[in-house]
Amino acid sequence: MTETTEQVRRDATVRVFRGEDRTSGQFVEYTVPVDPGMVVLDVMFRVQQMRAPDLAVRWNCKAGKCGSCSAEINGRPKLMCMTRLSSLPPAEPITVAPMATFPLVRDLVTDVSFNYEKAKTIPAVRLAPPGPDGKRRMFQEEVDRVQEFHKCIECFLCQNVCHVIRDHEENKEAYAGPRFFVKLAALEMHPLDTRDRIEMIRAREGLGYCNITKCCTEVCPESIKITDNAIIPLKERVVSEFYDPLAWVKRRIFGGPDDGAKEPAAVADR
């Protein structure tokens, strides 16, 4: 146990965004006592208990597993429950702001329904039938790759930091965002899935808008290599299907891009 490595800090000053819209809302400063080992979310609780009982904060598990308490701490998108005070500069106040990409509800809470709407556009998994014993066979070496994507806790920090929609509201319609590229990669690389979503990944989900600047990967609290392992492999699959005559010729001669042609999935047949 090394609690002695902790910066000894008796109280903390936070500048928390308060308000119901972004123009009239402002940062309000609170100073509250803190204990060793505390995270930013603990400080928000202290503020609620001691200074502002109605401070709106969305949280659930306080263990980095549910992805509810996403916010921007000193301008960086993070989970409040996993950001320890000792990781922040002790001399200056800590700025806590709501996620910028989504409409504000109040204080630190935003309306993330954009993401739930996007989720509905993704055709679900459809597996090849099981073996005669009723069980399916997949092997760890092929499951590993997809399991990384399944670590996603849907905190939407990647969606929030992605400049394609953060700075360009008009792109929201045509762009699914990093979280859903991770989801689509998990489906596309599923060893037993029978559907082909490449056309819709290009056309409807807007993979081409991504310019791989990797901010999604930087902010992912689950350390999913979103860009390298999900987005770029999907871009490469799109290239094979749409921009690569050699791959086209190969397909014509040897059949499908992979082991067996997949059935194209459309948005309609979720």
């Binding site: 960086r76 700025t95 702001a97 400049h163 492999p233 490469e236 290239v239």
Partner: protein, 255 residues
């Protein structure tokens, strides 16, 4: 999905030195481009037997100081590097790592995470010119071929008039070709072609091993980008300094 405008958030709330990385990229790439231009227009000084600058490889125009394949393949007015220079340029320009870097540092879309884009309109890689990034795979095919030539040159760098030997130039050239190889073969397109396109690895152990190997070095693709760039410059500079007589090449020749 209506959103209100975000005046408060247009402000950059980050307090760290977020501008340091784009600055490093601008300076690093800028220096390289200047150096490459200066060395690229020289018509001599790139060959100091048995070393051939990677900038000039493959050397196939009639006025070359040496020939990569034993004889000239092109008329004399071709400067040595000119014929192939577009291959590494195309490969690097469409490289997923460099794209990330220059979109950030030069186009400011975005300059850093959670820092606003410089411009209001944005179509990413869905429209001209950036839709051309999709040719990266072709650039890789050619870059991989070119690397074989570079490897050949590097092996020749151990072949002194008196026989087999090792000079500092040989070491630089082999390091250059090693980092270049790591860069080329850690490419994301290469990773895809080496098994990444498969959904099932079971029953395909060779593909899985190949994909795993590329995946391992792929995590350091950016590091290899810079190292290979650095060693191309160092090797070229070293050879030019030898030619200019500023330094001498320490070497052991076994005869």
């Amino acid at each position: 999905m209506a959103t209100t405008a975000l005046p408060a958030q247009r402000r950059v709330l980050r307090r760290d030195l977020w501008w340091l990385e784009p600055l490093f990229i601008v300076v690093g790439l800028g220096l390289f481009v200047v150096y490459a231009f200066v060395t690229g227009v020289q018509t001599s000084g790139y060959h100091y037997a048995p070393y051939l600058s990677p900038f000039a490889s493959p050397c196939i125009s009639a006025n070359c100081e040496t020939y990569s394949f034993g004889r000239a393949l092109l008329p004399a007015w071709f400067p040595p590097a000119f014929f192939v220079v577009w291959i590494p340029v195309a490969f690097r320009a469409t490289c997923y790592f460099l794209r990330r870097s220059y979109y950030r540092a030069f186009f400011w879309s975005p300059p850093a995470c959670a820092v606003p884009d410089a411009r209001s309109g944005y179509t990413g890689e869905t429209a001209f010119p950036f839709i051309l990034q999709n040719v990266h795979r072709y650039a890789w095919y050619l870059a991989a071929l070119l690397w074989v030539v570079d490897l050949y040159d590097a092996l020749l760098a151990f072949h002194f008039p008196a026989g087999f030997g090792i000079g500092l130039g040989s070491v630089l050239m082999i390091l250059d070709v090693v980092f270049l190889g790591l860069y080329v073969f850690s490419c994301h397109s290469c990773r895809y072609l080496c098994g990444g396109y498969l959904d099932r690895f079971h029953g395909k152990p060779v593909w899985h091993r190949m994909w795993s190997a590329v995946s391992r070095i792929n995590t350091r693709h950016g590091v290899f980008f810079w190292l290979s760039l650095l060693f191309v410059v160092l090797t070229d500079l070293y050879i030019r300094l030898l030619v200019a007589g500023v330094i001498t090449d320490p070497r052991i020749v076994f005869g």
